[in-house]
C-alpha cells in the first residue's frame, strides 16, 4: 500500500515541484493556537511536521527552543499532541502529518503504546532526532509494522558506506540535513554544494523521497527547488515569536508566510 506521504510526493512530482514541509511546535504559543496554525497552513503546505517539545533538546537552535519553551510553559503533553493531530486530521486542509521529537518521551510513554496511539489519531510519519541508525533499527521496524513512516536522517558528516546502509533500512522518505548546524542557523553552505550531496544520495536509490531541511527560508528556498521536498521550520517559529511581540495573529501571518514559500517553488 502506498503511504499518504509517498502519494503526496508523487503528486508534487507530477506538478514538477518539490513538496513543501512545514515545522511548527505543538502547543506554541497555546495548544489551541498551534492547532489553528497547522489547520491554516495546511492550505498551502504539502506535509505538516509537528514537534513535540522536550526540555533538554540537544540539536535545536534558538528559534525552535523558544517555541518549545512556550509550549512547555503551557503544559503541553503527549496526550495533547495526539488530540491536536486527531483534530487536524479531521479538518478541511488535512495533510499527511509527521511528528518530530526526542526519544525519551517515547521511551517513557512506551514504544508500542506510542505507535498505537499514533496510528489511532492518524500520524503518518515520525522523525526522532536522537535515535540514529543503528539504534533505531527496532523502533523503525515497529513503525513499519504499524504503517508509519520512520524518517531516517542523513547529514553532511554521514559516510558513504553508512549512507548506503541507512538508505537500505529506510522507508519512503529520508531527511537530508543541509549543513552542520542546529536548526535555525543561516544557510552557511552554497546551495550548489547541498544539491550535489543531495544528488549523490538520490543516485543510490532514486525511489526514495529525499527532503532537505535546516537553514531554509523564503530567501533560500528557491535555490533548492530541485529536491523532492523542502522543510521550513525555524523561520515559522521565529514568525510566531515576532507576531506575538507585535500583537498580531500568528495564524494569519504564518498562513501568509507559507503561501509565500509555496509561490517560490511552483
Amino acid at each position: 500500500m502506498t503511504s499518504k506521504i509517498l502519494e503526496t510526493f508523487l503528486k508534487c512530482q507530477k506538478e514538477q515541484r518539490p513538496a513543501l514541509l512545514t515545522y511548527t511546535v505543538a502547543g506554541d504559543s497555546t495548544k489551541k493556537q498551534s492547532l489553528e496554525i497547522i489547520k491554516s497552513i495546511g492550505e498551502h503546505a504539502d506535509i505538516i511536521e509537528l514537534g513535540f517539545p522536550h526540555n533538554t533538546p540537544i540539536a535545536d537552535g534558538g528559534q525552535i527552543q523558544e517555541s518549545s519553551h512556550r509550549a512547555l510553559k503551557n503544559g503541553i503533553k503527549l496526550s495533547d499532541v495526539f488530540r491536536l493531530v486527531k483534530n487536524f486530521k479531521q479538518s478541511k486542509y488535512a495533510k499527511p502529518l509527521i511528528l518530530m521529537g526526542y526519544f525519551n518521551l517515547i521511551l517513557q510513554y512506551g514504544l508500542l503504546a506510542f505507535l498505537k496511539q499514533c496510528k489511532k489519531v492518524g500520524v503518518d510519519g515520525l522523525i526522532i532526532v536522537d535515535l540514529p541508525y543503528p539504534e533505531n533499527k527496532y523502533f523503525a521496524n515497529q513503525c513499519k509494522q504499524h504503517g508509519i513512516t520512520f524518517v531516517q536522517l542523513l547529514s553532511p558528516t554521514t559516510s558513504k558506506q553508512r549512507i548506503k546502509k541507512i538508505i537500505k533500512d529506510s522507508h519512503d522518505m529520508i531527511y537530508y540535513i543541509s549543513m552542520l548546524s542546529t536548526t535555525g542557523g543561516k544557510l552557511k553552505v552554497p546551495s550548489k554544494k547541498i544539491l550535489a550531496n543531495y544528488s549523490q544520495i538520490k543516485k543510490i536509490n532514486s525511489r526514495k523521497k529525499i527532503v532537505i531541511g535546516f537553514g531554509i527560508t523564503t530567501k533560500t528556498i528557491v535555490t533548492l527547488k530541485k529536491a523532492d521536498g523542502l522543510v521550513v521550520g525555524s523561520q515559522l517559529c521565529k514568525e510566531i515569536t515576532r507576531s506575538l511581540q507585535i500583537r498580531q495573529n500568528p495564524v494569519t501571518n504564518l498562513n501568509r508566510m507559507v503561501l509565500n514559500l509555496k509561490r517560490k517553488i511552483i
Binding site: 540537544i58 526526542y102 525519551n104 517513557q108 547529514s155 542557523g185
Partner: protein
Amino acid sequence: MIKIKKNILLIDQHDKNGLWAGKFGGNWVPETLKKPIEDLTQLFQKLRYDKQFLKQRNYYFDNYIGAPTPFIKLQNLTRHLGGAEIWAKVVSENRGTAHKIYNAVVHCLIAKHAGKKYVCGDTGAGMAGKTLAMVAKKFGLKCKIFMGSKDIKRQKLNVEVMKKHGAEVIPVTTGSQTLVDAVSECMRYWVANCLSTHLVVGSTVGPNIFVKICAWSTAQISKELKIQMINIFKKIPKKVKLINCVGGGSSAMGFWNEFMDYNLKQVEFIGVEAGGPKNSKLHAAPLTNNSKIGILHGAKQYVMQNKEGQISETESISAGLDYPGVSPLHCFLKDAKRARYTSATDEDALAAYQLVTTLEDISPSLEPSHAFAEAIKLAPKLSPSAIIVVNSCGDSLKDKFIIKKRLGSYIR
C-alpha cells in the same frame, strides 16, 4: 542479577552499542554527531595503547598536574568522632585544584593528535571549565566554555580564572541555567562545529566515548591511592570505605576504579549525591531516589524526570553536583550492587565543611563536603580498625561567597 566482570576495566564492559549492562549509556545522538563520535572512538582506542601517547600523558600527570596528590590521616576528625579512622585523598592539591584536570589534560592531548585547534566544554562548578581553560592555553588550543548563568553567578571566582586563561565563557540562559543546560548548549555547539572543534564533556556523562575517556583519565586517583595505601598499611586493609560525592560521577569513578575487583566486604564504595535543601522536595540525587531510566545528553541512565520524560529541575547548594542525571557507569554499579548511593543535604554539607575545616588543615569545597557528611555520619558506627577514605576533590575557596552567605563567615 547484573554482574561486573573481573580483570576488565569497567569502561570496557559495554556491548557493541555502547551500552553497559545492556541498558545504560549508548549513543542517542543526532546523526551529525555519529561520525565525529566514531572518529574520536577510533582515535582514543588507538592512543590509549600507544606508548608515545602514554608517555606524554604520564609526563603531564606527574610533572604538570603533580602526582601523587597527598593521602593523609585526619587525626583530629577521627578523634572527634570516635570510631573508624578517617583519611582523605586530597585531590584538590593538584594543579587544577580538582579531579577535572585529568580529563582536561587527556582531552587536550587527544585534540592535539586529532589536529583540532579548538576545544569546547561544559562546566557547573567551574572546575571543569577552569582546568580545561588552563590546559587548553598550555597546549595552544582555543577554548570555549559553556556555563549556566546561575552557575556563573555562584561560581564567579572560577569564571574569572577561566577568562584569565583566555577562554571564552558563554553564559547559558535556557532552562534552569545550570549544568544540565550548559551540557545541552555545548553539545548543540558541537553539532554545528564538530569538524573544527574537539568536545570535552566535563564528567563521565554524555555519549559512550566521553564516559570512557573521562573515567580512564580520573582513574589516576585510585592508581595513586592504591600505592599509597599499600605503602602505609602494607596491604589494602580489611575494611575500607571509599566515600565520594557524585555529580556526573567522574570523581567517584576515578577514586574507585583500581579497587573494582576487591570484595565488597573489604572495599566498599559509597557515593553521595546532592540531597538539596533540607525539607525541600528538590534535589539532584537520581540514584538515591530511584529515578527511572531515561535518556539525557546522549546516554541512557537513571535520570530525574516527570512522567512524560521531561527532565526535572534540580537544586543543590553545590553547583558541581547539581545535575539531574548520572554516569551510566554508576547506574551499572548501582544495579550490580557494587556501590551504594545515598545523599547529603545542603545543610549536612555545610556542617561537614565547617567541621573538617575547623579541625583539620584541609578545607573541602561543597561537593566533597557531601562525602564528608556521610563519613561523619558513618565513622562513629564503625570500629577503629575500619578505614574511611574520602576523596577531597575540591577546595572550599571557590565556594567562599556561598559559605559566607550561609554561615556568616568563611574560614579555610
